[in-house]
Symmetry: C2
Subunit: 363 residues, 2 copies
Amino acid sequence: MVRGQADFASRPTIRDVAERAGVAPSTASLVFSGRGPVADATAQRVRAAASELGYAGPDPRAASLRSGRAGAVGVLVEGRLLQAFRDPYAVIVLDGLAQELDAIPTGMLLVAQPFDEPERAMEVVTGLAIDAFVFSMCGPAETPVVDHLATRGIPMLGTGAPSDDRVHQVLIDEAGAQGEIVHHLRDLGHRRIGHVTMPMRPVTPGGKLRPADLERAEYVDSRERARGFLATAGRRSPMVEAATADVEGGIAAARVLLDRSADTRPTAVAAQSDLLAAGVIQVAGELGLRVPDDLSVTGFDGVSLPWLATPLTTIDQHGEQKGRALGRLVARLIGGDGGGEVENVTIPTDLRVGGTTGPPPRP
Amino acid sequence: MVRGQADFASRPTIRDVAERAGVAPSTASLVFSGRGPVADATAQRVRAAASELGYAGPDPRAASLRSGRAGAVGVLVEGRLLQAFRDPYAVIVLDGLAQELDAIPTGMLLVAQPFDEPERAMEVVTGLAIDAFVFSMCGPAETPVVDHLATRGIPMLGTGAPSDDRVHQVLIDEAGAQGEIVHHLRDLGHRRIGHVTMPMRPVTPGGKLRPADLERAEYVDSRERARGFLATAGRRSPMVEAATADVEGGIAAARVLLDRSADTRPTAVAAQSDLLAAGVIQVAGELGLRVPDDLSVTGFDGVSLPWLATPLTTIDQHGEQKGRALGRLVARLIGGDGGGEVENVTIPTDLRVGGTTGPPPRP
DNA sequence: GATTCGAGTCGAATCGATTCGATACTATCG
DNA sequence: CGATAGTATCGAATCGATTCGACTCGAATC
C-alpha cells in the first residue's frame, strides 16, 4: 500500500515549536491562544519557529479535548437540505444565527434528520464535537437527540420544538399572530375563511383537518397557528393540511379547500406560511379567481418572494432577529458565565398588510 | 457566581463504565466503537453499566484526538448565507454532498467567508476539527484557507476554485457548455447575441465588460463561460457583468444590455445562470418584448424555478450529481486507503431546450 | 533595606478516549 | 496429541494540546 508523504514526516507539534524557540510548550500555547502575558520578543521567536517548521497552529482536536470548546454548534435540518432551504424563512433564521455566531467565532454544523428515520441523526450527533445545539427550524416535539445532548451537558436552543425543559426557546406567539391576521380578514368583512396549514407531522398525506386532529399534531407551530385560526375564525371553519411546506403543498391544499360552489367557497384563505400562500394564489389564478377581488389570501413569515406580483398580506416573524436571538443565547450559554440563568425569549410579530387582502366579493 | 450542577458531579468517563462492568477501558472502547470482537455477554454488561451511570458514549473530542477522525467536513460559504442559499443551484449541490456524507456518516460544517474580509474565514477554520474541506460553490481562485489546510494535511475539494494543485476538483466544461447553448442560438438564426455574466470578483459594481477584462477575473467559472460565449458568439458581442448572482443582478445587467434601439439590440441573451436569466426575462417584460418571439433567453445550471411561466432553455449542470461526486471523493480521501491517487472528475452537462428560445424576430 | 506586586515563564498534571501488541483460552485439524 | 487458528480481553503507550500553581526577577512602595 502506498502511503502519503504525511506519514513519513509527521507534522510538528507545539512541543517541537517550543523546543526550537527555546521556551516551554506552555509558553508557546500562550502565544497561539493569545491568553496570558508573553513578552513580545518571546512571542516573535515562537511564531518564527512555527513558520520555519511549517506548524499550522494548535491542533483543534487536542485543543478542544483540553479546553472543552469545539468551535461549532450543531444545527438540525429536518428532511433533505434541498427541501429545507427552499423555504426562505428557514434560511433567513439561519442567516441571523450565522451572523451572531461569526462573532464568537463559531461554525454551524448541519445535521440532517431524515423524515422517515429520525434515529439516523443520532449516529452523526453522537460523534460530533459541538458546544451547543440549535433546533432552528421548528421540528417534531420530541427527538432522541435531546436526551443524548442533555446527558452530554450540551446546551440546546429551539424555536418551539422540541418541547423540553432542557431546551431554551426563542418563541413567537404563534396562535396570537395567526389570530391577528384572521382578525384582519374578519374586519374586512370575511365570514367564510379557510385555513391551509403546514404539515402536522414529519410524514403526512395532508388533506382535510378537523379540530380534533390537532390533538395528535407533532409540530407545535402548525398546531398553535391552527388553534389561533380556529379561535378567531370559528371552530367550524374549514382547514386543510398541506403535505409539504412548500408551494406545491399549498397548491394541493388550496385545490381541496376551494373545490366547491361559489356560495360555500371561502372568500378568504389564511395560509400558515408565505410559501403556502403563494400556492393558494396560484390555484386562485387557475380557478379564475382574482386576488383580492374574489379571494383574499394571507401568509405567515414575512419573507420576500420577489416573484409574487403583489406583496402578500402576512405576519412578519422577523426571522433574522429570531436567528440573532438564538445566536446570542448560544454565545451566553457557551460563555459559561452563569449561563444557568437563561430565560426564554419571545420575539414580537407584526401584521403586514399587502395587496392580497380586501373586502369579500358581493354575492 | 452560580455554577451548573454539571460542575459538581463531573460526567462519567469510559474508565468509570469499564470499571463498573468489570472490564478494561480498552474493551469498553471496543464495545462502543463496534470494532474488534467482543463477547455478547461482555458487551451487554458494558452497555448496562453505561446506562446506569448515565454515560452518553465516548466523548467525540477525545475520540477525535486519538483516532484522527472528526466526523465533519468544512464547507465554505462565500458572503451571507441568505444570499448564497437563495441560489437553488448552490443548495442542490450541497444537497447532493449531504446525501453522500450521510453515508459515512459525517456532518457539514458551514464556514462563512465575508466578501469584504475573506481573512475572517481563517479565524474559524483554524479552530475547527474537520476531516476534509469542500469549496462547493465556485469562489475566488485564491484564498488563504488553502495554505492553512494544506499545512494541516486536510484534503480539499473544489468545483473549479480555488485553483490549486492541492485541491481536488469536480469540474464541468464551463466554456464548452456555454458555447453549446450559444451555438443553439446561432442555429436558430441569431446573430446579435448578448451575454449576462455572473460577478467576476467578490465585490464588483458590474457593468459592461470587454474581452480584455476577463484577464483580471477572480471567479474561474464566470470567466470560462464568458470565454466560451465569446468564442461562439464572436468577440465583439456585448457582455454585461451582473453585480450579484441573483435575479436582481440579472435585472440590472439586462437593462444595460437591452437599452438600445431595436435594430442594434441583441435578439438573444445568454445568461450565465438561471437566476440571471429570470432577471433578463423580467426586464424583457418591462420593455414589452415577448419571450421568445422578440427575445430569446438562455440560462445556465438547470435548476427548477417553478415560478417561471415558461421552462428555460438552459444547460443542465446536474448539480446533485456534482455534489454527490464531491461527497464520494471526500469519502475516498477520508477513508485513507491510498487516497493519494484521486483524480479530478468531470461531470457532463446537457443542453436542455425549453420555451424561452426561438428564431429571431423578422426585422 | 525589606516588602509587595505583577509580568513573564516553566513543569507537571490532565483532558478522555483509541490503538497496538501481548496473552490466555478454546476449537479445529491432520 | 501437538500444532494452528481464531476469539476475547487486557495494559500501556499515545494523541497534542491547555491549565494551574509555583517560581523568578526587577520595579515600585513604604
